[in-house]
Assembly symmetry: C2
Homo-oligomer: 742 residues x 2
């Protein structure tokens, strides 16, 4: 990584110019003796001298964030190599980093460029999401669009940078042009040249799974830790000893928090990051398709945005709306059918091995020939009419919105790991699941059933059945579907995150929208803020959720990291709310346990933002702790405002959120395995008003492993002047409802 | 290839046993001292001695055809290797040939077998096809199903052989069993060990195209000729210097005609043949998918049938219904909507370069953003309303059934060779194609419009639009579709003939049937008799059709070979009827010419069997030769009876066919570049009846290149006693209608 040309950014900062549109080249300002790459140069003498002194290039543009804390510098270096660098409060965030792409069978778009124009503008709007963490979102940035021309090919590429008050987004744009109509990406060569050997919260880079435990280490330690970090998964394709996933959370030794991700992943393959651990340079690594190509584009086309969120306060990373802002506003005319959902489900009992998705114990079935009425039931099938009615009754009694039922449809006997093509038809219930009756029953209780479409990765099969499946949902009153992509993508060769699959996930969203159906995609690609454009994408998994507590467990600090990593792209259907954390109490075969206290399980409804929140435990466990369940009943799933009261990735997070259209607030806090005492003040409350705080907290002797159910609930009156000191047990947390006193 | 155990088949012939079902092993007849592989032996002493003298194996079964001309012998040889051999009239057709499959990541199904049962039966039925070359088809065979058990794995595989009076069909069957539920085929290892270095009519083996010119050579010459034979194609993946396609036509030095193909290709990849040119052994070579796998099966499952049609008369090969008989009867309840079709089309003018499929000359368009009303038309777009009406008028005036229109829909500007995903939507006409008006106009003239769905190989895109596209067809009265798969399959990695694509083609057939739509698949896999099961599959291309006459030409003997090769699997939409064979007369840019006389173009309606026959030339050319066009008007497209009057592959073919439900017959003859005089007798006519023969023939000075339009038409009265001597010019032919005299 040639970074000898890195300029002291304070220097550049001084000479940044106001935005102007459509500037023309000013070749006349250059002394004739300068090399031709210097034809365009539009800076003051100071910078010119600086560049010349450094022995090199060429064209440069810089631009600041509206609050002037960020300065982005774009340079075309010697050989026509486009680069950029970024500072925050005068401190280097990204050193000189190369831009460009390698193409298949044609000249790379990485060098030989001259800058032929630079356009600037300022943008400031405030918009309202259909659902979200706050009522209003401000989208405010200064934009610099640099047009680069490659003389050898006469091709034009534009790099559009948007500098926000909380970081940077940029993308490649390929205008329609004679010399570039269709092209195949061999690799994207976007660098993020870090200023040091940062602490990183990372997952092994993988084309097929995001379900790894986060490793916290210095970047220089990634290589040594990779093998152990790459734990088994139903489908996995790690690609490098230093490859990591996004969103990647970093913390510099001098206290800068940096998050790297992407926004608006459409018709492109998902980006990973390949680490050069000598120079601490991250470089984009796209997901290949079955023949190793990394994407076919047709001009005009854009890459997704590459995002760099930066702050010296950890909480600012959590509050950033940069990724959402870089997505397009929705084109949906009517969004009235999109509603946040709090739900229970027939699910945890299968994940923990207490009951089964399948209706029989056959191990080799064919949908088009099996007659389930003639096959012996296994007696462990959870999705039966009577049992589902219990969940409907419970949900209705406690004012929840919906009931998810998995394992309702035929085909589960050998759904997994077989690379089977015709694995499900998505419309045929098992004999003991009376869809008509349940549809009627749920409607009579004003309850929504939530559909489950496990595809088993057989994507063509799912697309073939999509219309019929959505029509079936419409017929029986389901308005949301949880999709699943467990196992290798069928046909083999495709990867969960290649362009073909990215296209598929978005196709499902668009098709679902036509049927007014909300989508919660599991094992699909990590979100990139697409819910702004497709607000029916109300959830994703795309990381280790609560299910892993049944497969050996998540680290106790897992939920102090996820909001800094996975959730940067969008909400996660984490499925919290497990009250009986010792699984062996109801399934002696399973010694796994939930690495959390009960109180923290409540906190997650606040700390793990999602408009779709499951109360994931079995209802018998809730009935044993209805006092604690009250918080799940009360907590909102949509918000007017959000504050971060404390945060440090890997250690603790405390959020306060104001319920949508309500004066009430909810606080949640989660900490790591060391426990701590949280000190917060309630100054976010409306001054002068009185609130009743109900505090659901760990007892002093609580511990996520040894004593997880030791919780206490206390009430106290509070105002905006109140300060609280609240204990979090190891692997614990607390939840507070703050209801306006009547 | 170990063939030292090949037994003189006359010996076996004598001791074949009657069919019996469910026979039990008779181990007790064996002397105790014999090796264990000889535990099961059920023959007379004569054969036992023969085997022992030959020093070897093991278990053996044989079975004869109903007419006793074929004897099949099945042996499990030393090491448990299953083999078979075949004789015809005592002459070896296939010497000892191995059976089995290599599997991925598990023990191969090629050795270690013992025969655990053998079941025999005789079957004789006569059935009526929905359309076909004869009213009744006899399906008569003796069957031997040999069950093989592999001790090491406890797996069971059955090989089912059917010996007909015209050859052999056999397939692998994999019953449902504990040890074999899902498995991936690494390669099928079915051998066809030929008895000599036969003359072969072959195409280069290729995963993506069948559009090669047939090469006629000895098998030993294949390797040397392969490179020149592998001519360029829009998508091609040759795989071996000795790989060839099926149907493969062979002729032995002693005059045996042998045809090797497959039947009922469903949920399996298409088979090619790999030649061991030292031993003259052909071995199956399946089409791999994107990761190199050759098929995933779930038990119970069967392979397609491997077929070997044999006769000492070439004409018998043409008349064989073995491939059809090995397909399952249709499950369609109502077939009244399936009707043979004679049609004209807006097509040849585009293929020859006179006009265009596309409406504009843009070279990079996006369906979701282009507004064709704002783009300049190129003025060469053939599928415009007025022009299509001319074709409707012509077809109606001359009593044809339909009009195909290509290039009617948006997207043709850059449809080809771009690996584009969203290339067509199949429902949006160009602005100058008024689908509503044309639908009305065609209906008013009792004419059917024929739909065209070019997919450009973008298969997911086609499947996504399939329902909408078929609904569009239903709405506008189209009842047949020509599909196309030009170019590489998208997503890349798939091949035109892999299991995933085979599944696709059949999916389209099933989906089309739900909409009462007939399908004519171009660039799809070569047919394997599936039209018995799916009678809406009324045509396929799957070889070089007339279009190649515009791309440099087909060999003059092309149509004397195709009925022996490509047509063994099913009808071909060859698109004959080109009267103006010199393309440069209407497109000076194109020097290609049709390698046929005009008279032969008429003959093709009889010699190239299809229920779907195009009069492919432009109507202005027909209007110049309405006397010759009369034959196209008269000729039937469905038949009660078919005879082969003369035939020699590569030299000449003369067919006589009796029109469906009519006393009239039609004769067609095509010969190679040498020309000849054909001597036929009309004894097939009903004795005692008088017929008027109209003979459309080459003049003496006709020649496919030098004088193609020199034809003469004469009438004469004939009876069943008439004998005719009829000249065929080089590259020529003749057509005769034989109408019952009123």
């Amino acid at each position: 990584m040639p970074n000898s040309l890195f300029l002291p950014t304070m220097l550049i900062d001084r000479i940044s110019r106001p935005a102007s549109l459509g500037e023309q080249p000013q070749a006349q300002v250059l002394p004739p003796a300068l090399p031709s790459t210097l034809r365009r140069f539009r800076r003051g003498a100071l910078l010119l001298c600086g560049l010349l002194l450094l022995g090199g290039a060429a064209e440069a543009e810089d631009i600041q964030s509206p609050n002037k804390q960020f300065t982005l510098s774009v340079n075309v270096q010697e050989g026509g190599v486009p680069t950029y660098s970024l500072t925050y409060k005068g401190r280097p965030v990204l050193k000189t980093s190369r831009l460009g792409l390698d193409l298949k069978n044609t000249t790379a778009l990485t060098s030989g460029f001259t800058q032929t124009s630079a356009e600037r503008r300022t943008f400031d709007e405030t918009w309202q999401p259909v659902w979200g963490e706050s009522k209003n979102i401000r989208n405010h940035y200064n934009e610099l669009a640099v047009t680069l021309t490659q003389a050898q090919t006469n091709r034009v590429m534009r790099v559009r940078f948007r500098v926000f008050d909380d970081g940077l987004g940029f993308r490649y744009e390929f205008p329609q042009q004679k010399g570039l109509d269709y092209f195949t990406i061999k690799e994207e060569r976007t660098q993020f040249a870090l200023a040091g050997d940062h602490k990183a919260f990372w997952l092994p880079g993988d084309y097929d799974t995001q379900e790894y435990s986060t490793v916290t280490s210095r970047l220089s330690e990634v290589r040594g830790l990779m093998k152990a970090a790459t734990t088994p998964n139903a489908s996995q394709t790690p690609f490098s000893p230093t490859g990591v996933q996004t969103p990647l959370m970093l913390k510099s030794q001098d206290g800068l928090y940096i998050n790297i991700h992407e926004a608006a992943l459409i018709d492109y393959s998902a980006m990973h990051l390949e680490l050069d651990d000598k120079n601490m340079v991250l470089e984009s690594h796209l997901t290949p398709d079955a023949v190793g190509d990394k994407g076919l584009l047709q001009t005009p086309a854009n890459s997704p945005w590459r995002t760099v969120i930066v702050s010296d306060k950890a909480g600012d990373i959590l509050l950033s709306k940069l990724v959402l802002n870089l997505n397009e506003p929705t084109k949906f005319k009517d969004v009235s059918w999109i509603k946040p959902v709090k739900y229970v489900g027939v699910w945890w009992e299968m994940i923990t091995g207490k009951s089964t998705w399948s209706y029989t114990n056959q191990d080799n079935i064919k949908l088009d020939s099996i007659d389930y009425r003639k096959v012996k039931p296994n007696g462990t099938h959870a999705a039966n009419t009577a049992h589902v009615k219990e969940y409907i009754d419970f949900a209705a009694k406690h004012g929840l919105d919906g009931v998810l039922v998995e394992g309702w449809n035929t085909g589960w006997e050998d759904w997994f790991g077989k690379h089977k093509d015709y694995v499900f038809d998505f419309v045929t219930p098992y004999p003991d699941f009376d869809v008509q009756e349940l549809s009627r029953y749920a409607a009579s209780k004003n309850m929504k059933l939530i559909m489950h479409h496990e595809t088993s990765g057989s994507v063509r099969n799912y697309e073939r059945h999509l219309d019929t499946a959505f029509q079936f949902m419409n017929k029986y009153g389901y308005n949301a579907v949880k999709t699943g992509y467990v196992g290798d993508i069928v046909p083999l060769g495709h990867k969960h995150y290649d362009q073909w699959m990215i296209n598929h996930y978005n196709y499902v969203l668009e098709k679902a929208a036509k049927y007014n159906i909300m989508v919660n995609g599991h094992e699909a690609v990590r979100p990139t803020g697409l819910s702004r454009t497709y607000p029916n994408l109300i959830g994703n998994e795309a990381a280790r959720g609560t299910e892993y507590e049944s497969f050996g467990g998540n680290n106790a600090d897992h939920t102090t990291i996820l909001p800094f990593t996975r959730l940067i792209g969008g909400p996660m259907d984490y499925t919290p709310g497990i009250f009986q954390t010792r699984i062996s109490t109801f399934n002696p075969q399973n010694n796994s346990f939930v690495h959390s206290t009960l109180a923290r399980q409540l906190a997650l409804y606040v700390t793990m933002y999602s408009p779709l929140q499951m109360a994931a435990d079995m209802i018998e466990h809730y009935n044993q702790h209805l006092d604690a369940f009250q918080f799940i009943k009360d907590v909102a799933v949509d918000w007017d405002d959000t504050r971060v009261l404390e945060a440090e990735p890997g250690d603790y997070i405390t959020y306060a959120r104001k319920a949508k259209g309500s004066p009430n607030w909810f606080v949640g806090s989660t900490c790591d395995e060391r426990g701590r005492t949280s000190k917060i003040d309630l100054s976010f409350l409306e001054p002068g008003k009185k609130y009743v705080a109900t505090i659901y907290a760990d007892k002093k002797d609580a511990h996520y492993e040894k004593n997880p159910q030791a919780y206490q609930i206390r009430k106290q009156n509070v105002t905006s002047k109140t300060k609280l000191s609240q204990y979090c047990a190891p692997g614990g947390g607390y939840a507070i409802s703050l209801m306006e006193a009547k």
